[in-house]
Each structure stands twice: as structure tokens, then as C-alpha cells.
Symmetry: C2
Subunit: 112 residues, 2 copies
Amino acid sequence: LEPKVKLWIEKDGQLVLGQYRVTLLRHIAETGSLAQAAQRVGWSYRRAWGKIKEIEQNLGAPLVHSTVGGRGGGHTSLTPLAERLVALFDELQSSVERDVIRNFQRSFHTDA
Amino acid sequence: LEPKVKLWIEKDGQLVLGQYRVTLLRHIAETGSLAQAAQRVGWSYRRAWGKIKEIEQNLGAPLVHSTVGGRGGGHTSLTPLAERLVALFDELQSSVERDVIRNFQRSFHTDA
């Protein structure tokens, strides 16, 4: 038996950040491109862009900044806030998983 | 911002216990009736019975025992194992929620 947990962050009962959105942000950081990040998570560019705008609106702060044109044809990167959110989400997910496995094993072996 | 967690228990990659199944078990304990418990969670009797049998097979142990007939028309109750599983699941869910909220608040206020 193996306990599993899923983590997400809400604001006023609405999803702000879940695993998919964090993965999108991580791919933006890795690729420097919203188009490529969207492709990696299997979303359309339009959907990915909409999600980013939705999260930004919920947080009241920007998550990405873009430079247009130039040699590489533009570049999108995460703001420091977005970088911290991605790191925090991953940390929380890991610590929650670690805690629940430890608690489960302790309780289940004691009780059952 | 509010972190949320969902807990479930798998065996070999398959769901064994989640919030719905635990709720079904709790209603069996409360009503003494699988039919009434099924109705409370919005499942057919057949579906509820199937879920119980599936969990029992995964655990290799019985979760309910039934007495047939008599004055009240039969009675279904949880085995001690099932009672412990329900209590353990609720405890784990609560402790995971408490931990994640504490960790989130600490990290988010420190970092952002």
C-alpha cells in the first residue's frame, strides 16, 4: 500500500497553481519560449497564454516577461516571483509526499 | 492563496482507498446498511458493492460483515481493519493538510 498526494494552490476557491501549470512555467524557464513550453505540455499556445494571464491576474503580479524580435526571434522568461513559486511548489510537493509516506507507514504498521 | 491536498492510497499503481471510498465505508458504519451508504454517496448498490469487493481483494482481507434477515432485515458493519483504515485515512488527510498549510505559509511569507 502506497499513499499518494496531489497538491494545488487556490485563491477564493479557484485553482491558481497545480502540477500542470507549474510544469508549464518550468518549461518556459527551460526553453525560453512559451510556444515550446505549451507544446511540451500538450496545450495550444493560446491556452498556455490564457493560463499564464489567469494566474497573473489571480496573483496580481507578472509571471513572465518577454523580449520581442532580435536574433533568436524573441524570448520569454520567468519573473523572480514565478521562479520562487515553481521552487516552492516543488518543495511543498516533495515534503508533503515525504510526510505522508512516513506517517502512513508508522500508523499502518502500528495499527494493522 | 491557500494550498490544498488530496490524499489517496494505491497498491501496484491502482487506487485502493480515496476520499469517496472512505466516505462510503464511514456511511456503512453510521447506517449499518450498504444500501443506505450507497445512496448517501450517490452510487448504485451494485457499484458500492463492487467497490467494497475490489478494495477487499486489493487488501486481501474483508472490510465488512453482514448478517442477513432478522427483525431489521439484515445489517452490515465494518470489520476492525476497515474501521482502522477509515480512522487512519482521516488522520493522514488532516495531518497532511495541516503540514502543507504550515509549510506554505512559512515559505511564502519568507520568500515572496
